[in-house]
Protein backbone atom coordinates (compact mmCIF):
# COMPACT_ATOMS: atom_id res chain seq x y z
CA UNK A 1 0.00 0.00 0.00
CA UNK A 2 1.39 3.39 -0.99
CA UNK A 3 1.97 5.82 1.87
CA UNK A 4 1.50 9.56 1.84
CA UNK A 5 4.88 11.29 1.87
CA UNK A 6 5.12 14.28 4.21
CA UNK A 7 6.25 17.39 2.36
CA UNK A 8 7.67 20.22 4.41
CA UNK A 9 6.58 23.77 3.86
CA UNK A 10 10.16 24.97 3.54
CA UNK A 11 11.13 27.83 1.23
CA UNK A 12 12.64 26.58 -2.01
CA UNK A 13 16.40 26.08 -1.67
CA UNK A 14 18.51 28.79 -3.23
CA UNK A 15 20.19 28.15 -6.53
CA UNK A 16 23.70 28.01 -5.09
CA UNK A 17 22.97 25.52 -2.34
CA UNK A 18 24.77 22.18 -2.50
CA UNK A 19 22.85 18.96 -3.05
CA UNK A 20 24.61 15.82 -1.85
CA UNK A 21 23.92 12.15 -2.45
CA UNK A 22 25.95 9.23 -1.14
CA UNK A 23 27.49 6.97 -3.78
CA UNK A 24 26.28 3.37 -3.48
CA UNK A 25 28.67 1.49 -5.76
CA UNK A 26 32.04 1.52 -7.43
CA UNK A 27 31.21 3.40 -10.58
CA UNK A 28 30.26 6.85 -9.36
CA UNK A 29 26.76 8.16 -9.79
CA UNK A 30 25.33 5.12 -11.52
CA UNK A 31 22.11 5.38 -13.55
CA UNK A 32 21.10 1.91 -12.42
CA UNK A 33 21.38 2.95 -8.78
CA UNK A 34 19.35 6.09 -9.44
CA UNK A 35 16.68 4.02 -11.18
CA UNK A 36 16.49 1.54 -8.32
CA UNK A 37 16.24 4.38 -5.80
CA UNK A 38 13.46 6.08 -7.75
CA UNK A 39 11.54 2.84 -8.16
CA UNK A 40 11.70 2.04 -4.46
CA UNK A 41 10.45 5.53 -3.68
CA UNK A 42 7.53 5.00 -6.08
CA UNK A 43 6.64 1.73 -4.40
CA UNK A 44 6.63 3.48 -1.02
CA UNK A 45 5.12 6.85 -1.87
CA UNK A 46 3.66 6.70 -5.34
CA UNK A 47 6.12 8.99 -7.11
CA UNK A 48 9.59 8.57 -8.56
CA UNK A 49 12.10 10.39 -6.39
CA UNK A 50 15.80 10.14 -5.59
CA UNK A 51 16.85 10.92 -2.02
CA UNK A 52 19.38 13.69 -1.51
CA UNK A 53 20.56 16.05 1.23
CA UNK A 54 20.56 19.81 0.76
CA UNK A 55 23.21 21.71 2.69
CA UNK A 56 22.29 24.93 4.43
CA UNK A 57 23.37 26.99 7.45
CA UNK A 58 21.96 24.47 9.92
CA UNK A 59 23.23 21.50 7.92
CA UNK A 60 26.57 22.52 6.40
CA UNK A 61 28.56 20.07 4.32
CA UNK A 62 30.74 19.05 7.27
CA UNK A 63 27.73 18.12 9.37
CA UNK A 64 26.21 16.10 6.53
CA UNK A 65 29.51 14.30 5.97
CA UNK A 66 29.59 13.30 9.64
CA UNK A 67 25.93 12.29 9.94
CA UNK A 68 23.69 11.53 6.97
CA UNK A 69 26.63 10.62 4.73
CA UNK A 70 28.89 9.10 7.37
CA UNK A 71 28.68 5.59 5.89
CA UNK A 72 29.59 6.77 2.40
CA UNK A 73 33.22 7.14 1.45
CA UNK A 74 32.23 9.19 -1.57
CA UNK A 75 29.30 11.38 -2.47
CA UNK A 76 28.06 13.28 -5.48
CA UNK A 77 27.73 17.03 -5.15
CA UNK A 78 25.30 18.98 -7.32
CA UNK A 79 23.97 22.48 -6.99
CA UNK A 80 20.29 23.34 -6.86
CA UNK A 81 20.77 25.36 -10.05
CA UNK A 82 22.37 22.48 -11.94
CA UNK A 83 19.40 20.21 -11.16
CA UNK A 84 16.64 22.74 -11.73
CA UNK A 85 18.39 23.88 -14.88
CA UNK A 86 17.80 20.40 -16.27
CA UNK A 87 14.10 20.68 -15.50
CA UNK A 88 14.22 18.67 -12.30
CA UNK A 89 12.62 19.74 -9.02
CA UNK A 90 13.52 19.37 -5.38
CA UNK A 91 10.72 18.38 -3.03
CA UNK A 92 11.26 18.89 0.69
CA UNK A 93 10.26 15.47 1.99
CA UNK A 94 10.53 13.71 5.32
CA UNK A 95 12.77 15.35 7.88
CA UNK A 96 15.22 18.17 7.21
CA UNK A 97 17.48 18.23 5.31
CA UNK A 98 16.10 15.35 3.21
CA UNK A 99 14.80 16.15 -0.26
CA UNK A 100 13.67 14.16 -3.26
CA UNK A 101 14.86 15.00 -6.73
CA UNK A 102 11.83 14.53 -8.99
CA UNK A 103 10.68 14.99 -12.54
CA UNK A 104 7.32 16.76 -12.21
CA UNK A 105 5.94 14.57 -15.03
CA UNK A 106 6.73 11.54 -12.84
CA UNK A 107 8.66 10.01 -15.73
CA UNK A 108 11.17 7.47 -14.43
CA UNK A 109 13.53 7.42 -17.39
CA UNK A 110 13.51 11.19 -17.70
CA UNK A 111 14.37 11.56 -14.01
CA UNK A 112 17.22 9.06 -14.22
CA UNK A 113 18.63 10.36 -17.51
CA UNK A 114 18.48 14.01 -16.51
CA UNK A 115 19.94 13.49 -13.06
CA UNK A 116 22.77 11.28 -14.29
CA UNK A 117 23.61 13.89 -16.92
CA UNK A 118 23.54 16.81 -14.51
CA UNK A 119 27.02 18.19 -13.84
CA UNK A 120 28.29 17.06 -10.47
CA UNK A 121 31.49 16.48 -8.57
CA UNK A 122 32.42 13.25 -6.79
CA UNK A 123 33.95 14.04 -3.43
CA UNK A 124 35.69 11.88 -0.86
CA UNK A 125 34.08 11.99 2.56
CA UNK A 126 36.77 12.81 5.13
CA UNK A 127 34.39 11.83 7.94
CA UNK A 128 33.51 8.37 6.65
CA UNK A 129 33.06 5.80 9.42
CA UNK A 130 34.64 2.48 8.54
CA UNK A 131 33.58 0.20 11.34
CA UNK A 132 34.73 -3.32 11.89
CA UNK A 133 32.42 -5.89 10.40
Amino acid sequence: MVKTRARRDDPAPRTGQRVLRGILGESGLDAGDLRQAAMLNAELYGFYGVSVWVADRDWPRERLEATKLVKFDRYAEFTVASLTGRGLSLWATGQRPHYDVVDERNDLESLVTLMAATPHVIRDNPSVDREEH
Binding site: A6, L24, S51, K68, K71, Q95, E131
Partner: protein, 83 residues
Protein backbone atom coordinates in the same frame (compact mmCIF):
# COMPACT_ATOMS: atom_id res chain seq x y z
CA UNK B 1 34.36 -9.21 2.03
CA UNK B 2 31.37 -7.43 3.51
CA UNK B 3 28.38 -9.65 4.05
CA UNK B 4 25.24 -7.61 3.44
CA UNK B 5 22.07 -8.98 5.04
CA UNK B 6 19.76 -6.34 3.68
CA UNK B 7 20.56 -4.44 0.48
CA UNK B 8 19.58 -0.81 1.01
CA UNK B 9 20.15 2.75 -0.11
CA UNK B 10 21.20 4.56 3.06
CA UNK B 11 20.31 7.90 1.47
CA UNK B 12 16.62 7.11 1.78
CA UNK B 13 14.86 8.14 4.96
CA UNK B 14 11.15 7.95 5.69
CA UNK B 15 9.13 10.66 7.45
CA UNK B 16 10.37 9.42 10.82
CA UNK B 17 14.01 9.47 9.79
CA UNK B 18 14.24 5.70 9.40
CA UNK B 19 15.96 3.92 6.53
CA UNK B 20 13.83 1.67 4.35
CA UNK B 21 14.49 -1.43 2.23
CA UNK B 22 12.55 -4.16 0.50
CA UNK B 23 12.07 -7.26 2.65
CA UNK B 24 12.18 -9.46 -0.44
CA UNK B 25 15.76 -8.40 -1.12
CA UNK B 26 17.03 -9.60 2.26
CA UNK B 27 19.41 -12.54 1.99
CA UNK B 28 17.33 -14.42 4.57
CA UNK B 29 13.95 -12.66 4.75
CA UNK B 30 12.70 -14.82 7.61
CA UNK B 31 15.60 -13.59 9.74
CA UNK B 32 14.47 -10.00 9.37
CA UNK B 33 12.28 -9.45 12.40
CA UNK B 34 11.69 -6.49 14.72
CA UNK B 35 14.75 -5.85 16.93
CA UNK B 36 16.96 -8.00 14.68
CA UNK B 37 20.48 -6.67 14.18
CA UNK B 38 21.87 -6.92 10.69
CA UNK B 39 24.11 -5.28 8.13
CA UNK B 40 22.26 -3.03 5.71
CA UNK B 41 23.43 -1.10 2.70
CA UNK B 42 25.78 -1.93 -0.14
CA UNK B 43 29.31 -3.36 -0.04
CA UNK B 44 30.60 0.19 -0.39
CA UNK B 45 28.20 1.96 1.98
CA UNK B 46 26.83 -0.16 4.79
CA UNK B 47 25.91 0.10 8.43
CA UNK B 48 24.96 -2.02 11.35
CA UNK B 49 21.23 -1.64 11.74
CA UNK B 50 18.40 -2.52 14.07
CA UNK B 51 15.07 -3.44 12.50
CA UNK B 52 12.24 -1.31 13.85
CA UNK B 53 9.28 -2.55 11.85
CA UNK B 54 8.19 -4.57 8.86
CA UNK B 55 5.17 -3.30 6.99
CA UNK B 56 3.73 -4.15 3.60
CA UNK B 57 6.91 -5.80 2.42
CA UNK B 58 9.24 -3.02 3.56
CA UNK B 59 11.80 -3.10 6.36
CA UNK B 60 12.21 0.05 8.47
CA UNK B 61 15.46 0.26 10.38
CA UNK B 62 17.88 2.65 12.03
CA UNK B 63 21.64 2.68 11.84
CA UNK B 64 23.67 1.84 14.93
CA UNK B 65 27.35 1.66 15.78
CA UNK B 66 29.16 -1.68 16.06
CA UNK B 67 29.18 -1.19 19.84
CA UNK B 68 25.41 -0.73 19.93
CA UNK B 69 24.96 -3.68 17.62
CA UNK B 70 27.10 -5.89 19.87
CA UNK B 71 24.81 -5.11 22.79
CA UNK B 72 22.11 -7.00 20.93
CA UNK B 73 24.22 -10.15 20.63
CA UNK B 74 27.00 -11.69 18.59
CA UNK B 75 28.10 -9.77 15.53
CA UNK B 76 29.24 -12.94 13.82
CA UNK B 77 26.44 -13.96 11.54
CA UNK B 78 26.05 -17.55 10.35
CA UNK B 79 27.02 -18.13 6.77
CA UNK B 80 24.11 -18.05 4.36
CA UNK B 81 22.65 -21.41 3.52
CA UNK B 82 23.57 -22.81 0.14
CA UNK B 83 20.77 -23.43 -2.32
Amino acid sequence: MIYIDLPADLNLEDDQGRNVARLAEAVIPEAVTPEAVLVAGTPRAWSWAVVEAIEDGFVYFHQVSAREAAQHGSLVAPLPRSA
